[in-house]
């Protein structure tokens, strides 16, 4: 929902994905700038003036700061232009001339342009869904998966952000693959009201039972109770960790790994590895893990929070049987 899904090539996820499945081929000028001069541009609505200084779409703070800087720059130019009015000039003892007049209009127009463009950029920044940001994150992931270098400023090699037309298309037209027709959505809504009216009244208990009762909320959300529970669990966990370090995990190291693997094969190891754990292990492939930058790249790719999201994203399908009393199927379909 609200997430840009870049169109895949047919050979999308296969390892032969050389350019990271780019949506748009770079123009010859862009290619020249990028490859010969190592010089690219990040996309924006109204910051073109800054060229390669435009920050990447996912650095929102920098984008906001630059937009503000541009706004004040424009304001400054306009005030310069006002200072060059004939009356002001005369008062200050200067003589109006053609060159000053030219300067005045240039300052004014450029200043207005900068202010207008920073306004445009603001519309992008306050919009809750930025396809450029999503797109860049997607291609960064793709490049990391294939072990390709990712430039911290310009993103993956050969990556060119989508055009402004595509941006508008993504932003305003295609946010989902399919849509419900509005008539159908209304039908569903009315049906839902019908069910509510028909099914809930026969059960007075259910009717008066919203998902949560207000009276119970204040009782449940007791900050002091949570603090107390948290402190207890925290202590418990610290004790568990310390205990593991001083006892069971004391001698584990890279050096005696061979012995432990042998023990594990014989089934005599103190821990039993759960072979049915649903998540595949980390595959480093041709990635290295020698510097802090490498760690950041791997940690980003195997981000524990993102993995947890995939792991816990389930949808539930109920398959009814014709006779009750038999086992009802609650089919949990993982979306991994």
């Amino acid at each position: 929902m609200g997430v840009y899904i870049p169109p895949n090539n047919n050979n999308g996820d296969q390892s032969g994905d050389q350019n990271g499945g780019n949506p748009r081929k770079p123009t010859p000028v862009e290619l020249f700038l990028r490859e010969k001069l190592n010089f690219g541009t990040n996309p924006s609505f109204g910051l073109h003036f800054w060229g390669p200084l435009v920050p990447p779409p996912d650095n929102r703070t920098a984008l906001k700061a630059l937009t503000a800087a541009q706004f004040f720059l424009g304001l400054g130019l306009i005030s310069r232009s006002f200072a060059l009015r004939s009356s002001r000039l005369l008062r200050n003892g200067r003589v109006p001339s053609w060159s000053l007049s030219f300067k005045k209009y240039t300052y004014g127009l450029v200043g207005l342009n900068l202010i207008f463009n920073s306004g445009l950029e603001t519309t992008r920044l306050i919009s809750p869904f930025d396809p450029w940001q999503q797109e860049r994150q997607y291609y960064t992931d793709l490049a990391l998966r294939n072990g390709q270098p990712v430039h911290w400023w310009f993103g993956p090699k050969n990556y060119v952000p989508m055009t402004i037309d595509a941006f508008v298309e993504e932003q305003f037209v295609t946010q989902a693959v399919h849509r419900l027709k509005s008539q159908n959505a209304q039908d569903l809504g009315q049906f839902s009201d019908t069910v509510q009216a028909a099914v809930v009244p026969p059960h007075p208990a259910a009717a008066s039972r919203p998902i949560l009762q207000i009276s119970s909320i204040s009782r449940l959300l007791d900050h002091e109770k949570f603090t107390q529970i948290y402190n207890n669990i925290r202590q418990e966990n610290e004790a568990i960790a310390n205990n593991l370090l001083t006892n069971q995990l004391k001698d584990e190291s890279e050096i005696n790994k061979g012995n432990r693997l042998d023990l594990m094969m014989e089934g005599k190891y103190q821990f039993v590895v759960d072979e049915n754990y649903p998540k595949p292990p980390i595959v480093l492939g041709n990635r290295r893990l020698e510097t802090d930058d490498d760690l950041d790249a791997v940690w980003d790719y195997y981000d524990p929070w993102a993995e947890l999201q995939v792991e816990t994203d389930i949808s539930i399908r109920l398959i009814p049987p014709s006779r009750f009393g038999e086992e009802e199927d609650v089919d949990e379909v993982g979306e991994a």
Binding site: S86, L180, V200, I211, E254, I316, I319, P320
Partner: protein, 468 residues
Amino acid sequence: MFRLPSPRQLARFARSNPMKHFTPRQPFAFPPSAPRRFSRSFSYNYSQPFNPHHKRNRFLSVLAVFTVATGASYYLFWPHHTFPSSVAKILRKGLWAESDKGDKDYALALKHYIEALQECDKLELDRLSDEYTGIQLKMGEMYERLGMIDEANFLYNEISTMYLKVLTDKSVTLSDPRRYHLVQKDLRVVAKLVQLNRTNLGLCKAILITHAILPNIIIDNKLGQKLSQLSMADLDSPESAGRLQAVRYLPFLDEYINMMDMLIAINISLGDYSYSINVNLNLNKLMLLVKYAPDKVLLNQCNLGSLLYFQGGVFEAEMVSILKKHGLDIKHKRPDQYANGTEVPEEDRIKFNALHHNFAQCVALASEAYENVTKIANNLTRNVRMGQDSKDDEKEETAVAELVALATYSLGVIHLHLGNYSQSERFLRESRVKSKSCDYQDLLGEIESELGKLFAEKKRLQTNEASR
């Protein structure tokens, strides 16, 4: 009084001034030939020396401040390094041990992660940060992989309780995005906790309900009223559009919907269908409100049908128990057939009729829900997309096709339950064709078993008729 000279007049005057070539940048001095009243007519002090660099300097300094601010924000907010160097050093060892290169040595990885967390504590890193909790999640995963489920449970509990502790703390002011971010993370951990404790249904329900309060409050605040009291007529009004937009972009929406799905499943296992229906209807409203992905909306509708059918089953069981009490044949399910039994007291008869009415209504509504699914699935608008079809498109299309097969199957099951064998057979066969075309293996087994029951039932009827 005299008139002030217009700037244009002044300019003309200045251009005609013969002295201008000699004093272009000097403080302005009126030529002796100029009338004196000109100099009196302005209150501005012309003797003040003109410094053309004064303004430019100020402008440059403002620009410089902004440049520095921009640079500082690049430096401060750009995530150049996620972890402090000492923690990163330990984490690298942990990741290495856990990976294929380190022979999947989960015990050693666990050791390193514990050390990394202790290093973080030493450096007094923020326990709320995603980096700190990320290490904890890694530890939890290692516990699970090593079969230490209790330890994993404790750790996940710590994280989720910490979020609740911070979110309920009135002395801490959190910005809205930060609050939503924490709620989102909390819901993910809660989903994990429920998966780990799936055998203890009561505990799961308690966890889910406790952690659902905060997102519920946020959604209700955004809507300006309670979601459960919102009627669908409110949704189309233009003034509600802004509020809906606000709900649509709540970052934890996916996690919230996921959580409500879990609540439904757990209540089914507890046998509380009416609660599940209630949650399902609220979820349906929310999804329509935010224009959620249509396959999820249809799935929810399909589940609504099943829930109504299960609820009908509850009524039917009560009907059967009344019949049994009076020693009557369970096959007599119709009130008209039953009304002939004169020995039954009036009280039970009324109760029975009410139950039958409810049962019939539930089954009718269930059929309607399934029909909604098949009808709407064929009527989806396909968005025009740039480029080729993606895998997600295919995934969504498969999901919709499977749901249509499931809804058709469910219609067949309802008719089989009601004894309409020819209709049931038609739906089940149709569903079999649809399941095969989208390769829905899980359903195919069910279809075969239901068809088997159908044929057995038909055969029994035929032999009964023949023997009569």
